[in-house]
């Protein structure tokens, strides 16, 4: 193994990196370099190379050792029976879903379904999810998931503002909304200039003297209160405002749906549909809207279309509205989802069906009734007589005393105030739990007589006017898979339609589709990590907190920063957190007017969207012909906005996959003008171990743990986007009112959180849970622990080598668009298909779809440059797979030339008709200008391992013109 130091690589690194010494020698020969260090040295500019090699990372552990250490962390978490509620409930993940989805690489290693032809399985799973949400909320269209409930509420607020005809700037907020939601609303509203007005509603219409563009109602309330919001909804509508209802999906099986109550938007979480609490995440939030608001939906939406043969096919719809495409015109920065978790929640509904879900809800609410009686017997006062699963008590003793008694018995209650406590019942609350909790409440003599089997009828505690009478989940998919055999086969049937990393390379530029090792995934479903409530007391989560602190210190170390926060649960949220930190910093220095954010024209569109949501003004900086940021233009823009310059946001290596030489000049110029430098860490896989953002001018960055650090893409989420910063920005990194451990803050900042000084008092909170999505952090922890500094460095080298090898092999057939000094690219390369299109009429789409016939997922299409493909092989692919890709691309080039040369008509050739389904090459007479063999088996290597796409090329325009976003009726497939 050719390592930088000549030492043997750790055992795990040898498993993670696909190319070993012989292969690397072969590849280096093609490139004309003697060793891997010599190659990377030539590619990475001297000006940014690491100055000190010291690292806090321990030497690489073996897989077995890493698991033992994770066990030790796990053993320091205590799994109590969490009855805290507040949007997080213990749940039973059906084992058939856990094994076949959560722990199945066919689901978790897939990418976002941008290539619909190879993604029909998870697109169907997502349309099940959308149908489930739309049915239960009684609204017309649901998107394919949000990051969590509280950020979904923020998106609901933003949606209400742009859709409302009211000129008001005020959003009405339910005082009985979840506390974390209120904290998040405060932070996000302040950034974009929305004024929040709290009201208790008090069973009466909202204040008529305040004009509002929208209102939030929590249903049932955070306190558990169930009440009829119809009057409030009517009053808000009378002011031209929109109503956002944050609703509990399980409760909606029994309660009148938000849609029937008149709501415009419903949001919430689907966590309790079989997704473990995981100390806060990841879970799928949801957002649904009434008819007429579909085009205002943020995030992703799956719709029904048809393929080239006219068959039903799913694909992401209204993609032109995705926020990263709208750049500075964006109204949201959400561009990802929680696909894996949405699939799980949707499958929970598929497995239980409408009757099963209703039975769970009835059991939950009747058990809540039992505890209400027990509480009354114990001398406590129930505050709200109408409830679903949550009770708020005025305690007979002090709140602290009751919470402690519960804790001693193994139950977590939530202390609301000196004399008030609340707790929630969930599907895991057993009869034994009920007796134990009754004893805690002082009702020692409680018996289970009233809970005999069959006693589940909803009683007087849910008002008649709010008892649901409408049907839901009537589609056959929710009424078919009752046996485990049937469920297992349905999941297999869907997984078989899709192309994930368990089939072959996914060379998506800017996405870093590397190995998600099995050992890294092990700890995710351990109960000590999965079964923890995000607001559990510190004493229960010491293992978690120590692991998170260690991981944060490692992430800060490898990027050259002083502090990091894992709270942001997507890259976009990391960007937002970083930019809000910059704003907070400028404000703390009395420079509130610094709001201009410079963003290069080559940047990913999400950068601009995040800047807008951070309340910044985007100024675009030009790029030169080679795709580099134009230094002169940076200087000119800085001069133009001298006093208002907040930040420059730049991706390094650039979105064009090139190490820019002038990066230091650029960062220096920004600092001289009083600005801060945000370096987008999307391409960190080209830098780790060779350079650190903090050492070449970065003040703050977000990292994508789902790219560089092995968290699987999950078919389009979960993501984790930690934000790391220099010490001066550290006090402004994300915080949370319920964080178990607070990092010490400077006095001024601490005072602001208390509301004691100027400015709006708020936490810089960006996710619902204090540590974002902790249950998947052991994946990244394990990766770094098993790689060590050496391994990470060698992974970078192998990734850069693989990209340069592909560029060198393909250059003869396709121009490579950009390269740095020495003609080298970084960890990805862009091949230009525009000359080919010009000469032959063959488009990027044709090439991408034809790759499917060769058994490949297409590279990134037309980003960052239209008419190109961006290829990122990562370090995990071996030489045979790289060569198989080269073979496919060369064969495709020859096919295109045959089209250009007139051998095949422009509208009847294997590229034009790609991809080919089994049906399309078997059924009927073959009347094409090329053979069946050419269509399906274009190269011999496909003979032994053939992936058959389930549909032909999907018609994007037809689906967008005929919007339909729920499960199509079975007749559609006839």
């Amino acid at each position: 193994m050719a390592t930088s130091s000549g030492a043997e690589l750790g055992e795990f690194a040898q498993r993670h990196i696909g190319t070993h010494s012989d292969a690397q020698s072969t590849m280096l020969d093609v490139l004309g370099y003697e060793s891997l260090p010599a190659l990377v040295s030539a590619a990475v500019p001297d000006s940014i190379k690491l100055t000190e090699e010291e690292s806090v990372l321990p030497p690489a552990a073996t897989e077995r050792e890493a698991l033992a250490e994770l066990r030790a962390y796990a053993s320091r978490n205590r799994v109590n029976r969490a009855m805290i509620g507040l949007g997080y409930y213990d749940t039973i993940t059906p084992a058939v879903i856990k094994r076949n989805v959560l722990e199945n690489p066919s689901w978790y290693t897939a990418y976002t379904p941008y290539q619909p032809e190879i993604s029909q399985g998870r697109l169907e799973a997502l349309i099940n999810f959308q149908t489930m949400v739309a049915d239960l909320t009684g609204l017309d269209t649901a998107n394919s998931s949000m990051l969590d409930e509280s950020t979904a509420v923020v998106e609901g607020m933003l949606l209400a503002r742009r859709a409302s005809k009211s000129g008001s700037n005020v959003f009405l907020v339910d005082e009985d909304a979840l506390p974390q939601t209120k904290a998040l609303l405060e932070n996000r509203a302040a950034a974009v200039g929305i004024e929040l007005h709290y009201t208790a509603y008090d069973m009466s219409p909202p204040p008529s003297d305040i004009d509002v563009f929208g209102a939030l109602i929590q249903y049932p309330g955070s306190s558990g209160r169930v009440w009829d919001p119809r009057e409030v909804i009517d009053a808000v509508h009378a002011q031209d405002g929109l109503v956002v209802v944050a609703a509990d999906l399980l409760a909606l099986t029994l309660l009148t749906s938000p849609g029937e109550l008149g709501a415009d938007v419903a949001v919430g979480t689907t966590q309790r549909f079989g997704v473990p609490m995981g100390f806060g995440g990841p879970h799928a939030g949801y957002l649904a809207v009434r008819s007429g608001l579909e085009r205002q939906l943020p995030g992703r939406l799956v719709g029904v279309s048809r393929d080239a043969d006219g068959n039903v096919a799913y694909r992401l719809t209204l993609q032109a509205r995705e926020q990263h495409i709208r750049r500075e015109k964006a109204t949201s920065n959400i561009c990802t989802a929680q696909v894996l978790l949405a699939v799980m929640a949707g499958m929970y509904a598929v497995y239980h069906g409408p009757a099963g879900l209703k039975a769970i809800a009835e059991r939950v609410t009747s058990r809540t009734r039992f505890l209400a009686d027990a509480a009354t017997d114990g001398g406590h006062t129930i505050i709200h007589g109408n409830y679903f699963d949550t009770l708020t008590l005025e305690t007979a003793r002090s709140a602290n005393d009751l919470v402690k008694r519960a804790y001693d018995a193994g139950f977590l209650f939530h202390r609301v105030g000196d004399n008030h406590v609340q707790f929630s019942v969930d599907e895991t609350t057993s009869a034994q739990d009920l007796l134990a909790v009754a004893a805690v409440l002082g009702a020692e003599k409680a018996t289970l007589d009233g809970l005999a089997p069959g006693h589940t009828a909803v009683g007087s505690w849910i008002p008649q006017s709010l008892q649901r009478t409408s049907e839901y989940l009537t589609h056959p998919v929710f009424n078919t898979h009752r046996s485990e055999t049937s469920m297992m086969r349905y999941l297999k049937y869907l997984a078989d339609k899709d192309y994930a990393l368990d089939r072959g390379m996914i060379p998506l530029g800017s996405c870093t589709m590397k190995l998600n090792a099995a050992t890294e995934m092990e700890a995710v479903s351990w109960p000590e990590f999965a079964g923890i409530h995000p607001f559990a007391p510190e004493s229960d989560v010491e293992g978690y907190l120590d692991l998170i602190e260690q991981l944060e210190s490692w992430l800060a170390d490898v990027t050259g920063y002083d502090a990091a926060s894992v709270q942001p649960n997507a890259g976009s949220q990391g960007e937002l957190a970083g930019l809000l930190a910059i704003r907070g910093y400028h404000e703390s220095r009395g420079e509130e007017n610094r709001t201009v954010c410079l963003i290069p024209s080559s940047a990913h569109g999400t950068n601009a969207a995040s800047a807008v949501l951070a309340g910044m003004k985007v100024v675009v900086v030009a790029c030169d012909d080679r795709g580099n940021v134009d230094v002169e233009d940076v200087r000119a823009r800085i001069a133009e906005h001298a006093g208002e310059l907040a930040a420059l946001m730049v991706t390094y290596p650039s979105t064009h996959g090139v190490y820019e030489q002038e990066i230091r000049e650029i960062t220096d110029a920004v600092h001289e003008a009083g600005g801060q430098v945000y370096i987008d860490g999307a391409n960190l896989n080209a830098l780790l171990g060779y350079a650190r953002f903090g050492e070449f001018g970065g003040d703050v960055s977000h990292l994508n743990l789902h790219k560089t650090f092995c968290i699987p893409h999950g078919g389009g989420g979960p993501g984790v986007g930690p934000v790391a910063a220099k010490a001066h920005l550290a006090p402004f990194l994300p915080s949370h009112p319920f964080a178990q451990r607070r990092k010490p803050l400077p006095e001024e900042r601490a005072a602001r959180l208390e509301g004691g000084t100027t400015g709006t008092p708020h936490h810089n909170i960006v996710s619902a849970a204090p540590y974002g999505s902790p249950s998947i952090l052991p994946i990244t922890w394990a990766y770094i622990r098993m790689m060590g500094s050496e391994g990470l460095r060698d992974a970078t080298g192998a990734a850069v080598l693989a990209a340069n090898y592909l560029a060198a092999r393909l250059r003869k057939y396709f121009p490579v668009l950009y390269s740095g000094e020495n003609g080298l690219v970084a960890h990805e390369c862009i091949i230009d298909l525009r000359p080919l299109t010009e000469a032959t009429g063959v488009t990027v789409d044709d090439v991408a779809k034809r790759l499917i016939d060769f058994g490949f997922h297409a590279p990134t299409m037309s980003f960052p440059v239209p008419g190109t493909l961006m290829i990122e092989p990562t370090e995990s692919e071996d030489l045979a797979e790289l060569d198989r890709f080269v073979e496919a691309m060369i064969a495709i080039r020859a096919e295109a030339d045959a089209v250009g040369g007139g051998e095949w008509p422009a509208d009847d050739n294997p590229l034009h008709h790609a991809p080919h389904t089994a049906r399309s090459v078997i059924v009927g007479e073959w009347e094409h200008a090329y053979s069946r063999e050419k269509a399906a088996y274009p190269v011999p290597s496909v003979l032994r391992n053939k992936y058959w796409p389930p549909v032909r090329r999907v018609d994007q325009a037809w689906g967008d013109r005929n919007l339909f976003c729920a499960c199509p009726p079975p007749e559609a497939f006839a």
């Binding site: 085009r295 209204l318 993609q319 032109a320 325009a957 967008d960 013109r961």
Partner: protein, 128 residues
């Protein structure tokens, strides 16, 4: 389809067919081609008053979301329902069946005060 030589154009790739105090407004073939397959068109309500330079509608394709700008101050007298029902008309016949709105101005002289291009100047602008 209107004779392009009698139309006026804006740098935002819109065309105006002016007749007295009323102008029929649409987007040019150049704009339609750049957008690609148009899938959704949203137009202002009939009777609404519009202000020059303001966004009054949306033209969405599979690739991007374009905006319809009001080229003049006036009142919307007609909105083309055919194009909202069948957005593909924008691609098929941008100067004919793909028209968007009709706008009435206070006085025909308002049009003279606008900085509009003739067909030759617009062609030069888009470099064709």
């Amino acid at each position: 389809m209107a004779d392009k030589n009698t139309l006026k154009f804006t740098p935002e790739h819109e065309w105006l067919d002016i007749s007295g105090t009323v102008a029929t407004i649409g987007i040019t073939d150049y704009a339609a081609e750049k957008l690609g397959d148009v899938v959704f068109v949203e137009l202002p309500k009939v009777g609404s008053s519009i202000q020059s330079g303001k966004v009054v509608g949306e033209i969405e394709s599979t690739k991007s979301v374009g905006e319809l700008f009001a080229p003049v101050d006036g009142t919307v007298t007609e909105a083309n329902g055919a194009v909202t029902d069948r957005p593909e008309l924008v691609n098929e016949d941008p100067f004919g069946a793909g028209w968007m709105i009709k706008v009435e101005v206070a006085d025909a002289s308002v049009f003279d005060s606008l900085d509009l291009l003739d067909f030759a100047a617009y062609t030069a602008l888009v470099g064709e």
